[in-house]
């Protein structure tokens, strides 16, 4: 399992190579990219912030859950931090599995849980100012 916070641009090949395995016929991946708009406003740039210790702990919990539910072989998750431009990669997740169906299901689970639970915050920059993006709110168990 590879979990990494990247102050520099994400190298998705690193994640893909990290999960490659001779027993796996599928490598599936998700790439989150900075969009040029949000709720009708033009986005110029985006900042990602994380709470590092909790990020590693919670992400590992999510990926352990994924491993326990699907027969995946390996997973790599790379999170970018700092200031990103439109088109930059903010998140990359790769999962390898013997067959594609379990890989796709496992990846979908990991993304959804990550979006709701990982202590990651982003602030969008517009021509008129900046704003923290509010999307999700933690695990149900803690509410």
């Amino acid at each position: 399992m590879l979990i990494k916070i990247c102050p520099e641009p994400i190298r998705s090949d690193d994640a893909l190579e990290a999960v490659r395995h001779p027993a796996c016929g599928a490598i599936v991946s998700f790439e989150g990219v900075v969009r040029d708009h949000h709720q009708g406003r033009t986005v110029l740039a985006l900042e990602y912030h994380v709470y590092e210790k909790f990020f590693f702990a919670e992400t590992k919990r999510i990926l352990d859950e994924m491993h326990s539910r699907w027969p995946v072989k390996a997973v790599a998750l790379l999170q970018r931090v700092g200031c990103l431009q439109v088109g930059d990669t903010g998140l990359f997740i790769a999962v390898s599995s013997p067959h594609r169906a379990e890989g796709l299901a496992a990846l979908s689970y990991a993304i959804e849980e990550f979006k709701h639970r990982a202590p990651v915050w982003k602030r969008e920059h517009y021509a008129t100012g900046t704003e923290w993006v509010v999307c999700h709110h933690g695990p149900n168990a803690a509410v």
Binding site: K53, P119, W121, W132, G138
Partner: protein, 82 residues
Amino acid sequence: MKVTVLFFAMLQEKLKRSEMSVEVSEGGESLQQLTARVMASCGVEATEVGHCLFAVNWEYVPSHHIVRPGDEVALIPPVAGG
């Protein structure tokens, strides 16, 4: 005996600080009580953090969780990963 309380993102900006060291008794204190004290000391209404979740020692916990000396407490505003 103290705990460290961490603030992030919009909350960090509102409070103009990223962390505080707060005295707690050896028997501990609930997160609700601790947060009310912390917000009062910052001159902020506790309702301002009503949308936050809590993490203690890098794990989500409910608001009735008892904080012990030495714990790392974090107020977690709505996250936006992905």
